[in-house]
């Protein structure tokens, strides 16, 4: 690329990521309310469980990730999204409305909602995918994170197409291999989009922000490509009905992802910065959960009647791994963006530091709540009371995180307003 196009400015405007971050936590609480109406952690394929899980994966995880990617692209690859505000609106609104429509369609068994959801989610994600690909193509940096982001967005495209197909299939009652398609949809969505994105960004973020040694060269140079290849094996095995191939692909995926978790935990153990940090603890809990998810799934292959272990692996991956990392990332990025945009907006006096925007004690309270929720989810398969504790924990986490982000927005607005009054 020409260096004239290079952008290291921390665009976009604060409103772009914050609209995603502000709404997303409410979907955690919504998912908890859905679970309270007939959810069952022993079977994640019921309409109620599908609605709740999509509330979490689309409403919470995808919204946060879409917002965060717009923010981190200039930093990690030196390239902004084209037409930032437009892309934000045309991905934020359709994904939000599509998620609500999907949850409604699944809960009510209403085909019109399912069809509407498929088109809205397709449109929202496609807007993001096209913009992200343009940004990646323009990128100044040719680093491993760029490759990981590219593969991650490619996996998202596959997951989105399969999701649309499944939603239309359920709406029309068409005969499809729902089990097989759902497995591929989940593999590409969670194993591809989520895993590759987190791994690719971690290669830069973990050493720099947590002051750890660098990832070993063999891992940062080849892990995301190897995971993507494992996923291709998995998908090919399913499409060709070559089950050993699918199993080899999935086995490789878990081994590679597990090794990423082990290496990350070891690096964090060797970190130079030894002060207590809630966001680091969220990240470490996420890595421990990823390791547990891999262990649950691989063990399920050697144990009879092991469907519950597979379900536990999925729940641990989503709620333990992905949610922990996202919570940690939000508690770092939200206070920083408030501080940064106030400073850049010319406010010279009275800008609070990051710990004054969202207090550390707030984050620790959330960390403990999150840990208890995860333990309750694990126990819920055997003990009904734990199911209700898990629902309560999830609902409370949505409210706690939402209040934290709302506090950040309030601080930003209050200080900006004070500045405007002081300098009319």
């Amino acid at each position: 690329m020409s260096t004239a196009q290079l952008s290291t400015e921390q665009a976009p405007p604060i409103s772009v990521p914050f609209r995603f971050f502000a709404l997303a936590p409410l979907f955690l609480t919504l998912a908890a309310l859905i679970l309270a109406n007939g959810g069952d952690f022993n079977d994640i394929h019921t309409p109620v469980m599908l609605a709740a899980l999509h509330g979490i994966t689309l409403g919470f995880m995808a919204l946060v990730m879409l917002g965060a990617i717009q923010q981190i692209l200039p930093v990690v690859i030196g390239s902004t999204m084209p037409a930032t505000r437009l892309v934000a609106w045309f991905s934020f609104l359709p994904v939000t409305l599509g998620t609500l429509s999907l949850c409604g369609g699944l809960l009510l068994g209403e085909p019109r909602f399912l069809n509407l959801a498929a088109w809205l989610l397709g449109a929202g994600f496609l807007t993001f995918i096209v913009a992200a690909m343009i940004s990646l193509q323009r990128a100044a940096a040719r680093n491993t994170t760029r490759t990981a982001l590219f593969l991650s967005v490619l996996a998202l495209t596959g997951a989105m197409a399969l999701g649309m197909l499944l939603a239309h299939g359920h709406a029309s009652g068409e005969t499809l291999d729902y089990g097989g398609l759902a497995a591929l949809h989940m593999g590409l969505g969670l194993g591809g989009w989520v895993m590759l994105l987190i791994a690719g960004v971690s290669f830069q973020v973990v050493p720099m922000f947590q002051l750890t040694p660098n990832y070993p060269q063999w891992m940062s140079a080849g892990l995301t490509q190897a995971i993507f290849a494992a996923l291709l094996l998995y998908v090919s095995g399913y499409l060709l009905k070559a089950w050993p191939l699918a199993r080899i692909g999935e086995g490789l995926f878990w081994l590679l992802s597990g090794s990423f978790a082990v290496v990350t935990l070891r690096l964090q153990h060797k970190r130079r910065r030894r002060v207590a940090d809630a966001t680091l603890s969220f990240f470490r809990l996420g890595m421990a959960s990823l390791l547990c998810a891999a262990a649950f799934r691989l063990t399920s292959w050697w144990v009879a009647d092991s469907e519950w272990l597979t379900t536990l692996a999925v729940l641990t991956f989503v709620l333990g791994f992905a949610l922990s990392v996202i919570h940690g990332m939000l508690y770092k990025i939200v206070p920083f963006l408030v501080w940064f945009h106030l400073f850049r907006g010319g406010v010279t006096k009275g800008v609070p530091n990051m710990k004054e925007i969202i207090p550390e004690s707030w984050m620790w309270r959330h960390w403990w709540l999150h840990l208890c929720t995860l333990l309750a989810v694990g126990l819920a398969m055997f003990w009904n009371t734990a199911f209700w504790l898990a629902i309560f924990g999830l609902a409370a986490q949505g409210l706690l995180l939402g209040a934290g982000i709302y506090t950040g927005i309030t601080v930003y607005r209050r200080i900006l307003a004070r500045q405007e009054v002081a300098a009319p």
Binding site: T3, T8, I77, G78, M208, V275, N353, M354
Partner: protein
């Protein structure tokens, strides 16, 4: 070749170590050690900024390098200097606000380093390939 990236990248790591030492001492209430470590950190940062602002950036611009990103890097140096001043005040007052300001500086510093190491330094290595040794020698002399 990535001579400039390697030289300035390892200088970033030197600053990181000095930062971590100062922060750990201050947060454990060992203010005297914190003052010594912070002074070393402040000196490291000042030297790093001078190497970039007095030597690297002018050389990069003279070789038709990207002016926008250089301007952004300069602006971020000013942000960090402001935070360093705040940290010095907090240290003087032995204030608990040191932790929050240090956290803020760390994020500003690291996202800045990320942009330099991933984007700006590789461009500098490419555009200034023939003058790399001379530029590094001038930076070392500061």
């Amino acid at each position: 070749m990535s001579k400039i990236a390697e030289y300035l990248g390892s200088d970033h790591q030197r600053c990181d170590v000095a930062f971590a030492d100062a922060e750990a001492a201050a947060l454990s209430g060992d203010w005297d050690t914190a003052q010594t470590a912070f002074t070393a950190f402040q000196n490291d940062m000042a030297k790093h900024f001078r190497m970039e602002e007095e030597i690297l950036f002018p050389a990069l611009l003279a070789a038709n390098g990207p002016s926008g990103p250089v301007q952004v890097m300069r602006m971020e140096h000013a942000q960090m200097n402001d935070l360093l001043d705040q940290l010095a005040d907090a240290l003087q007052a032995r204030s608990h606000s040191f932790g929050g300001i240090a956290e803020t500086l760390l994020i500003v510093m690291q996202q800045h380093n990320l942009k330099e190491e991933q984007i700006l330094y590789p461009i500098a290595d490419r555009l200034l390939e023939s003058a790399c040794d001379e530029i590094i020698a001038r930076m070392q002399a500061i």
